[in-house]
C-alpha cells in the first residue's frame, strides 16, 4: 500500500463528478458509489444529466453531473459538494453553484485552454476569478497523464481519451482512501467483453491514484466513517430498478405472471429496460405503439390473469386516463407507475417535480377512485412497488405509484431481501363454495373487492366492460339507483384499504408544537432537515406520507395534535390542498419549490424556521 501523508476522519462527504455528457462522469460516479457502499458507507446519489443526448462538446448545455453523498447518517445526495471534479471549464461554470464554500475543485488543466474557455463563454482568461471561486483548486493534467499512461497500449487516440474519467476516478479514490482492488473489480465487470479496454482503464486508474499519492502528498485525504449495517447481501440500486424488482417479487409472491406494457418516456424508461431484460425470469415486458396501448395491453393482461403494469411519466399518465378509468370500472388489478418530471406538457423532461398528485388522484372522468402511493427513497421504490402490486391484486383496483426523477435515478445501497421478508400476496380467486352462484361483480364483503376469475377456467366465463353493471346480477344496467350504489361500492372498496396499510408514523420530536410533513421522494431532505432543526433546538415533529389514497387511518389524529402543520413539497401545494379538502377547517402551511430540482436541506430548515417564527 502507498504511504498516506495525513488522513482525516470525517462522518460524511459529498462528491460531484462533472464533465461533458460524453466524458463518462456517470460511470465514474457510479463506480465510486458502489465501492463506497462496499466498504460499508451509506450512499445516496443524484445524477444530473442534460436533456440533449449529445450537446456540442465543451458547451454549457452539454454538462453532465453525478453527485454522491457517502458516510454515516446519509439520507440525501447532499445539498452541496465538498469535492467537485470538473473535466472542462463548462463543467466548472455549471457546477460552481453546487460547491461548498472552501471546498476542493479538481480540474483537468489540459482542458482549460483559450478555446475551451470560449466554448464555456468565459470572457477573461481567469475562470476562477470570473466565477469568484472560493475553493482549493487542484489543477491536474488529466488528459496528458492519461495519454502518457497509455502511450504503449496500442489504443487509438479516441479510445485513450475515453479513459480520462477513470484517471479522475483514480485520483478521487486516492483522496478518499478507497480500496483500488474493489474499483478494478467493478471496471472488470463493466468491460468484461473488452479486455483491452479493461487493461487500459485499470492502468489509468492506478496512474490516477499514484498521481495523487505522489504529487499531492501535502493534501489531506479522508477516511469516511462506516456504519454497522445489518448482515446480508447488498447491491447498489436506483429507484427505477427497485420498482422493476419490487414488481417481480410481487409476481413471485402472488403467483400471477408479470406483464408490463409500456412506451419510452423520460425519466421512466429504465423500468421498461430492466423488465425487458427480465425475460430471464419469465417477465413479459413489451414496448407498445403508444402510451394508451401501454396501459390497454396491461389491462388486457390483467383481465387475462396477469399482474398488469404500465410505466410512464406525467404526459403519459394523461394519455392513460381513459384506460385507468376502464380498470376502475372493470375492477381489475393494474399498477400504473408515474416517474414524475417537470410539467406541464413536455416541461422539464429530465428534472424532478411532484406535480402529478392531483392528476393521479382526480384525473379521470366520472367518480373513479384509485389507490395512490408514493415511495420515499430509491430503495423504498422496491417496497412500494411491491405494496402497489399487493393492494392492486388483493383489492382488485388500479394503483398509481408516484415516483419521481430524483429517486428514480438516484441510488443507494440496498439489502437483498431474504425469503420470508415479504408477505404472500393472495389474489381473491372465486371461492369453491361460491362457484355456482358466482357473478363477475360479486364482492367479498370484508374488502368489497370483486372476485378474480382467471380466463381459461371452466365454468367461470364472464363478460366485463366499461358500462355500468347491476350490483346483484352483474348484467348491464342503467338504473339510476343502482348506479349510485355501484359508485359508492367502488369508493368504499378503495376507502377500506385504509385497514390494510400502516398508520402514519411520527418521527423526530413527537411532542413538538410544529409538525413537518411531506410525501414521496422528498423524504431524505425532509427528515435530515427535521433532525437538523431539532439539533438547533427548534423542536419539530416529522411525518411522511407514502400512502396518499386512502390516507393512513390516523392521519387526522396526528395532524390535529399540532399547532402548526407544515407541508413541504415540490409543487405549489397539492398535498396541502388535498389534506385541507379531506379535513375541513384544518390549516396546512406550506413550503414549496417548483424548479425541477430537489429541495436543499437548508431551504427546508429556513422555511420551517420562518413559519415557526411567524405569529
Amino acid at each position: 500500500m502507498l504511504e498516506k501523508a495525513d488522513v482525516k476522519t470525517i462522518e460524511k462527504v459529498v462528491v460531484r463528478f462533472s464533465g461533458d455528457s460524453g466524458d463518462g462522469m456517470q460511470l465514474a460516479g457510479t463506480i465510486f458509489t458502489n465501492v463506497s457502499a462496499g466498504v460499508g458507507n451509506q450512499v445516496s446519489t443524484f445524477p444530473d444529466y442534460p436533456a440533449e443526448v449529445r450537446a456540442p462538446q465543451g458547451s454549457l448545455s452539454g454538462v453532465s453531473g453525478f453527485q454522491v453523498h457517502i458516510g454515516v447518517g446519509v439520507h440525501t445526495p447532499g445539498d452541496k459538494a465538498d469535492v467537485l471534479i470538473a473535466m472542462n471549464p463548462a463543467a466548472l461554470k455549471q457546477n460552481v453553484k453546487h460547491l461548498k464554500k472552501g471546498g476542493t475543485v479538481i480540474v483537468d488543466i489540459d482542458s482549460f485552454k483559450e478555446s475551451d474557455l470560449k466554448k464555456a463563454q468565459f470572457v477573461t482568461d481567469d475562470p476562477y476569478k470570473e466565477l469568484d471561486l472560493n475553493a482549493q483548486v487542484l489543477e491536474v493534467p488529466i488528459t496528458s497523464m492519461t495519454k502518457a499512461a497509455l502511450a504503449e497500449s496500442g489504443l487509438d487516440n479516441k479510445s485513450v481519451l475515453k479513459c480520462r474519467n477513470i484517471f479522475a476516478l483514480g485520483l478521487v479514490c486516492w483522496l478518499f482512501n478507497r480500496p483500488i482492488e474493489a474499483v478494478i473489480h467493478h471496471i472488470k465487470n463493466k468491460f468484461a467483453r473488452k479486455p483491452a479496454v479493461f487493461e487500459a482503464n485499470s492502468k489509468v486508474l492506478q496512474a490516477g491514484f499514484d498521481y495523487g499519492a505522489n504529487t499531492h502528498a501535502s493534501v489531506s485525504t479522508y477516511r469516511i466513517e462506516s456504519e454497522d449495517v445489518r448482515p446480508g447481501y447488498y447491491t447498489d440500486i436506483n429507484g427505477n430498478t427497485a420498482i422493476a424488482w419490487g414488481l417481480i417479487l410481487a409476481s413471485e409472491k402472488s403467483g400471477r405472471p408479470l406483464f408490463l406494457g409500456s412506451y419510452p418516456i423520460t425519466p421512466a424508461t429504465d423500468i421498461l429496460h430492466e423488465l425487458a431484460k427480465r425475460r430471464d425470469l419469465g417477465v413479459k415486458a413489451i414496448q407498445m405503439e403508444d402510451e394508451i396501448a401501454g396501459v390497454c395491453s396491461a389491462i388486457g393482461a390483467s383481465f387475462a390473469g396477469n399482474l398488469g403494469v404500465t410505466s410512464t411519466s406525467g404526459p403519459g399518465l394523461a394519455l392513460k386516463s381513459e384506460g385507468i378509468g376502464l380498470a376502475v370500472m372493470a375492477e381489475l388489478p393494474l399498477v400504473v407507475i408515474d416517474v414524475q418530471r417537470g410539467g406541464p406538457s413536455t416541461g422539464l423532461p429530465t428534472k424532478t417535480e411532484q406535480t402529478d398528485l392531483m392528476q393521479a388522484l382526480y384525473g379521470r372522468n366520472g367518480e373513479s377512485p384509485v389507490v395512490v402511493v408514493a415511495p420515499a427513497s430509491p430503495t423504498d421504490c422496491f417496497d412500494m412497488a411491491f405494496e402497489a402490486s399487493r393492494l392492486a391484486i388483493e383489492h382488485m383496483t388500479p394503483v398509481i405509484l408516484l415516483s419521481d426523477a430524483f429517486i428514480g435515478n438516484g441510488s443507494s445501497a440496498w439489502r437483498v431481501p431474504d425469503e420470508g421478508d415479504y408477505p404472500q400476496i393472495c389474489p381473491p380467486y372465486v371461492p369453491e363454495n361460491l362457484r355456482e352462484a358466482w357473478k363477475p361483480y360479486m364482492r367479498d364483503e370484508s374488502t368489497m373487492a370483486r372476485y378474480w376469475a382467471i380466463p381459461g377456467t371452466e365454468g367461470l366465463a364472464h363478460r366485463l366492460g366499461g358500462l355500468e353493471k347491476d350490483y346483484s346480477t352483474s348484467a348491464l344496467s342503467i338504473d339510476p339507483v343502482n348506479h349510485e350504489h355501484m359508485v359508492m361500492a367502488r369508493r368504499e372498496k378503495v376507502a377500506k384499504i385504509a385497514d390494510d396499510i400502516p398508520e402514519l408514523e411520527v418521527m423526530c420530536d413527537a411532542d413538538a408544537d410544529t409538525l413537518l410533513i411531506g410525501w414521496g421522494g422528498t423524504y431524505g431532505h425532509l427528515f435530515t432537515a427535521a433532525e437538523e432543526l431539532n439539533k438547533m433546538g427548534r423542536k419539530v415533529a416529522f411525518a411522511h406520507f407514502r400512502y396518499i389514497n386512502p390516507l393512513p387511518k390516523n392521519t387526522f389524529d396526528v395532524l390535529s395534535r399540532y399547532k402548526k402543520v407544515i407541508c413541504a413539497e415540490l409543487n405549489t401545494g397539492m398535498m396541502a390542498d388535498y389534506l385541507q379538502s379531506r379535513f375541513g377547517g384544518m390549516q396546512v402551511l406550506r413550503i414549496n419549490k417548483i424548479q425541477g430540482q430537489p429541495f436543499l436541506v437548508q431551504e427546508i430548515v429556513d422555511g420551517v424556521i420562518n413559519i415557526m417564527d411567524e405569529k
Binding site: 447491491t235 413471485e252 430471464d280 425470469l281 388486457g300 393482461a301 383481465f303 376502464l326 366465463a461
Partner: protein, 338 residues
C-alpha cells in the same frame, strides 16, 4: 388445446340481443357462434374483446370470456391479453369507426406485430351508435349529419391498410352471405397470427342499402367473386366469367369469348408470400371488377406472442435463475458479515 364437440348454442350467452331489428350484426353473431363450434375451441378457452360501437356490444352475447372495453383500444387490449395468456383463442370485434378511426394506430400495429388474434371488422361505413356520422370508410362526398354537404376526404380501404401493415391474413364476406362468412371466420380462427376479416354489414337505420350495389340478389353474382385457394377465379351467374392477367393489372373476361379460354383464368393462391396479387384482388370494388369475398391472403409467418414465449424459454434455460433473489445474487453485490 382440447377440441371436443360444441354446438353454436354453447357459445351463446343468455343476454337479450339489443341491436336494431334488421341489423346485419344479428347474422354475423349467429355465424360467429357456428364458426366457433366448427373450430371447436371450448368457450372457456375463448375470449372476445371489443371496443365501442354497435358491433362492440357483441361480447355480451357470447358465452365466452368477454371484455367490452373503450373506444378504439380493443386491439391493444387483445394484444396484452394474448401475450399474457397465450393458451386462449382471442377474437377482437371492431367496427369501421372503432377499428380504423380512433383505433387506427392500434389496428395497424397489431397487424404488423402478427399477434395471434382474429380481428373481425364489421364495416357499415357509418357511425351508428352516435346516430349517423360519416366514418373513415365512407365514400368521398358521402352526406351524413356531420357532412351535410358531403365529405371532402377519401376513405380507407381496410384491406389496403392490412397490406400496408404487412398483414398475413385477410378475408372478406358480406353479412347476408352466411356460408361465406362462416368459411372465412373458420379460416381466420385456424390461421396462425393476426387475421383480419372484413364483413360488409348493413346499418338498417342510418345507412340502409350502402352495400346494395354489391349485395342485391339481382347483381350479386356479377359483382362479387368468391375466391378459394387453388380454384380458378370464376364468377357470374353461371361462372362464365373469369379474372385474367392484363399486364400488371387484372381484367374480367368471358370464358370462350375474345379468344379467352379457361386456361387463361387465374388460379387463386392465398398462400403465396408476395402480396402483390392479393392486394389487387382485395382492391376490386364491384364496379369494373367484382368485389372479392373469401380468404384472399393466408400466409404463415412468425407470430409475436410465440416469439416472446420462445425467447423467454431460451433465455431462462441459458441463465437458469430460479427467482429474483437468485438473479440479483448472480450480478454485482457484496456481503456484509456479522
Amino acid at each position: 388445446m382440447d377440441c371436443v364437440n360444441f354446438t353454436p348454442a354453447d357459445y351463446k350467452s343468455d343476454q337479450p340481443v339489443r341491436w336494431c331489428p334488421g341489423c346485419g350484426d344479428h347474422a354475423i353473431l349467429n355465424v360467429l357462434h357456428k364458426a366457433m363450434a366448427e373450430v371447436g375451441v371450448p368457450p372457456h378457452m375463448t375470449a372476445v374483446i371489443s371496443g365501442i360501437g354497435c358491433s362492440s356490444r357483441l361480447p355480451y352475447y357470447m358465452n365466452t370470456y368477454g371484455f367490452h372495453t373503450i373506444h378504439g383500444r380493443a386491439a391493444a387490449i387483445a394484444t396484452g391479453f394474448k401475450v399474457a395468456n397465450p393458451e386462449m383463442s382471442v377474437w377482437q370485434i371492431s367496427g369501421d369507426g372503432d377499428g380504423l378511426a380512433i383505433g387506427g394506430n392500434h389496428f395497424i400495429h397489431a397487424v404488423r406485430r402478427n399477434v395471434d388474434i382474429n380481428i373481425l371488422l364489421l364495416n357499415n361505413k357509418i357511425y351508428g351508435l352516435t346516430k349517423g356520422q360519416y366514418s373513415p370508410t365512407s365514400d368521398r362526398g358521402f352526406v351524413s349529419k356531420s357532412s351535410p354537404y358531403g365529405t371532402t376526404e377519401d376513405p380507407f380501404i381496410p384491406a389496403e391498410l392490412v397490406f400496408g401493415a404487412r398483414g398475413n391474413f385477410f378475408g372478406r364476406s358480406i353479412d347476408v352471405e352466411l356460408a361465406t362468412s362462416q368459411e372465412v371466420l373458420v379460416a381466420a380462427a385456424r390461421h396462425h397470427g393476426t387475421s383480419v376479416v372484413e364483413i360488409l354489414q348493413n346499418c338498417v337505420i342510418f345507412n340502409n342499402g350502402i352495400h346494395n350495389y354489391i349485395t342485391d340478389r339481382e347483381y350479386r353474382a356479377e359483382r362479387t367473386i368468391h375466391l378459394r385457394h387453388g380454384e380458378k377465379m370464376l364468377f357470374g351467374k353461371n361462372m362464365e366469367k373469369g379474372l385474367v392477367r392484363d399486364g400488371f393489372l387484372l381484367k374480367a373476361v368471358e370464358v370462350g369469348k375474345d379468344g379467352y379460354t379457361l386456361d387463361d383464368v387465374l388460379v387463386h393462391d392465398a398462400h403465396t408470400r408476395s402480396n402483390f396479387l392479393h392486394q389487387q384482388l382485395a382492391m376490386m370494388d364491384g364496379h369494373e371488377l367484382p368485389l372479392a369475398v373469401g380468404v384472399i391472403r393466408d400466409v404463415d409467418s412468425l407470430v409475436y406472442n410465440e416469439e416472446i414465449d420462445m425467447q423467454i424459454s431460451q433465455i431462462r434455460e441459458k441463465k437458469g435463475f430460479s427467482s429474483l433473489r437468485d438473479m440479483i445474487l448472480g450480478g454485482e453485490h457484496w456481503e456484509v458479515k456479522e
